[in-house]
Symmetry: D3
Subunit: 127 residues, 6 copies
């Protein structure tokens, strides 16, 4: 029997974000359950599963999108973890942010690097 | 004799953007020559030459940054060409933009895809 | 037999945007057909069909979102038409934009009103 | 005797935001009293009192504007309360944010819903 | 007899923007006359007339605000003219934009400089 | 012997930001030392040292850029201090933010004024 978009998305979410993403979905359960459903079905079920880019490339695009957007500390936390989970190296995470400097300036990049620092500490990548 | 940051940047600019980038620099000559100099020295001399990410990865980050930022049609035109010049496929260009949808919504992505369409036509990738 | 999300979305798109939305989808056919599919399935099939807000309320939220976002002239053109199609009055369209002034300032609102002017002319609402 | 714009705005502010808005104005008293005066006179005296949209509609436009803008947690807190004060239901508040997803993506909407959750808890709408 | 806010604002608008600003107000006459009234009364009557900063300083702040905001080509055109009208030199206009680079990156600054180039040509400052 | 861009930038950073800026650079030492180097060499070495605008004017442009950008509380804290260090008065700091209202609305300005309040307290300018 064919998997639903929800099941496909849930598997992809687990692959990328592990427990972090699950916590976001759980926190939406009472108030806005459909918002969690859309993230799973559409973002992870429809988009992340597409060919043409692998998961490492997708997470690098996501990191730069979130850094440029700004005010996305919570989402950066989830996706810096996600990037590391799928094999992006810590050095590459930082370098994605540095590559954004010419296009968006230092403040957005400093904010993103500051979230990276926190995530790297929690994963004992740095002290 | 060691190359200057300007010379290094100019070579990198030529490698990435070919004539397109050169036209941007030329157009700044009379009014704001230092702006062109900063783009060459800092963006291309200091940033694009760094290790950790190759030019294809850098251009993908640039494309998503510009798409998310919005109001960057001129810069997208230069860097969609740049991405193709360094080996990003047309399919990957479109996919980078599609990966931005969950983070920035449809309008920014539609605008970026519309510039891609124009660039792909001018390069005879599509009719 | 149950309608697919695509069929549901296509009906909703026709109800809201008429031919304008269809033109956007057609223009994506060759280069990024899935982008058009996502707009129909997700935006119109999943979101616009939800209860709690009627179509007039949804279009007012859309108009303010697009005005605040900026750089969305093409999308404003589609959705100012959409708003009028579902019964938002021209006066209400303008008033939605005026209500945004305290939160986003005059330039974004002037740009949105300028698109409204063009749409109202094309529909002979004003001369 | 005719009311001043300040008096008209103060009444409208009380109607919409109750004590929350007043606290914002008070906090500006020492450092930037004119900023508080402009919010009362212009935003609430000139804009919120206009016809064509009622207060519920105005607050829905405000909520979507603030959600799309991002980095506006303090203002969302005031206006989610304001929206509930003038009769927007909790379900409608959430739905306004969900309607923004196609135009601005998930992160801005997740941030807004997270402020709504906090406000709904403080008003005992949810536990 | 005391001048109204409208009269005060109109004088200030004439002082800063000359005919350009007037054209913006005229273009709003039929569709959104109150929007023009708010620009005159609030922006020019209430804000531009305040002490603490002179008109040159105010226009420099305006130029950087518009450059950073993006998607504001029409407003930049008005205010680059306005800045020159009140005594900001062409060199200072460009330098305000260059000072924004570290905070907002090259694309926003390139777009602003490109409007400056057009204005300087129309005023025969450059050829 | 000629000073390097790094030395020139470091002197300028000390002149503008004193210890605050140094703390930002230190915090980048382990994780992204080149990011700190670019801020010193490019932002402070190349840009802040240019003629045409003095340091007070540059800091006013910086303050409005950061206020308009949003999500820049950390950078505003550094540069409100920087502005005061180079002779911008507290009244002028607030007035720069007030001048941004017509272009970017109240929320961004309220956020910036709120950081100013905190900085002014820490410097005992207000209680």
């Amino acid at each position: 029997m064919e998997k639903t978009r929800y099941e496909i998305g849930l598997e992809k979410l687990a692959e990328v974000d592990g427990r972090q993403g699950d916590r976001v979905i759980q926190s939406l359960k009472e108030l806005a359950p459909d918002l969690g459903k859309f993230i799973i079905e559409f973002a992870f079920g429809d988009i992340y599963t597409r060919p043409a880019l692998d998961l490492k490339q997708r997470e690098c695009v996501t990191l730069s999108s979130l850094a440029v957007l700004g005010g996305t500390e919570n989402q950066l936390r989830v996706h810096i973890n996600g990037a590391l989970n799928v094999g992006v190296t810590p050095e590459e995470v930082i370098e994605v942010f540095i590559q954004c400097i010419p296009y968006v300036g230092f403040p957005r990049v400093l904010n993103a690097v500051s979230v990276a620092k926190e995530v790297f500490k929690s994963r004992k990548i740095i002290q």
